[in-house]
């Protein structure tokens, strides 16, 4: 017959196992609602622990000068810097500025390309958040013509 002491000891072992087993690789990868609700570029950056954004030649944002279709605009964010924790892609004039956030691990280049929806012509930003919280950005204006010819 199991004593109460034994039962409690066993429960604690199981609880300890659960606590360690349930720990995900990227603990901070849970969807950051605050970041995606942020209306401004700076607010979204702050939600990921970034400080005040400052422009930097070492970060690159790629995108078309004129996007024929605002529903599918290819946007790329990259940097050659080391020590980058996250790369963010933002469209300033969208209802919520943040489009995507990429965790940069040692195994990948800090270079990501995706396609985003743009509600209107706007500046698009690539922000690199460094390990020390510094937020460096590059921006570019992308004009959007929802239909018809460019310009």
């Amino acid at each position: 017959m199991q004593t109460r002491r034994e039962t409690i000891q066993q429960s604690m072992v199981v609880a300890g196992l659960l606590a360690t087993a349930g720990f995900p690789q990227f603990a901070h990868a849970a969807f950051n609602k605050v970041g995606f609700d942020a209306k401004s570029v700076q607010d979204a950056v702050k939600a990921y622990g970034g400080g005040s954004i400052s422009e930097s030649k070492d970060v690159t944002i790629t995108g078309p000068d004129i996007a024929e279709n605002g529903a599918v605009v290819p946007l790329g964010a990259s940097t050659g810097l080391t020590g980058v924790k996250q790369m963010l892609v933002l469209v300033e004039k969208n209802p919520s500025a943040l489009v995507a956030m990429f965790h940069v691990s040692d195994a990948v280049d800090a270079n990501f390309l995706t396609r985003a929806k743009m509600g209107q012509s706007s500046d698009v930003y690539a922000v690199a958040i460094m390990a020390d919280g510094k937020a460096l950005f590059a921006k570019k204006e992308v004009k959007v013509t929802l239909g018809g010819c460019g310009g």
């Binding site: 969807f31 469209v91 990429f102 965790h103 691990s105 270079n111 990501f112 995706t114 929806k117």
Partner: protein, 103 residues
């Protein structure tokens, strides 16, 4: 969601460029349907990728990513024959994983 992702993984030098095309509506939650009701947001929130079983990428997306999302990234040290898996999870809790071999 029912359609598999198309993953192309190409080794070049000491890294592999991975291109993924996912099949997903990515409803922004801003659109209204014919009756005037707002179509609820339905979009991929989390994307993760592994290289030979080791997590290499994790990303959070918002509703602004385009429908049938495209993603391109580069994995260092990946060579031909390595396995790449990509997983997405959307805001309804649905998830999908697909795998490709680096060529």
């Amino acid at each position: 969601m029912a359609d598999p992702m198309r993953i192309r993984a190409q080794a070049a030098g000491d890294k592999a460029t991975i291109r993924v095309l996912m099949s997903h509506e990515m409803e922004s939650g801003q659109r209204k349907d014919a009756a005037g009701k707002t179509v609820p947001a339905w979009f991929i929130q989390e994307v993760t990728a592994t290289h030979n079983g080791k997590p290499v990428l994790s990303a959070e997306w918002g509703p602004a990513v385009s429908k049938n999302p495209f993603l391109q990234f580069a994995v260092k040290g990946a060579k031909a024959g390595d396995k790449i898996t990509v997983t997405w999870k959307d805001n309804k809790g649905d998830t999908r994983t697909d795998e490709a071999t680096v060529s």
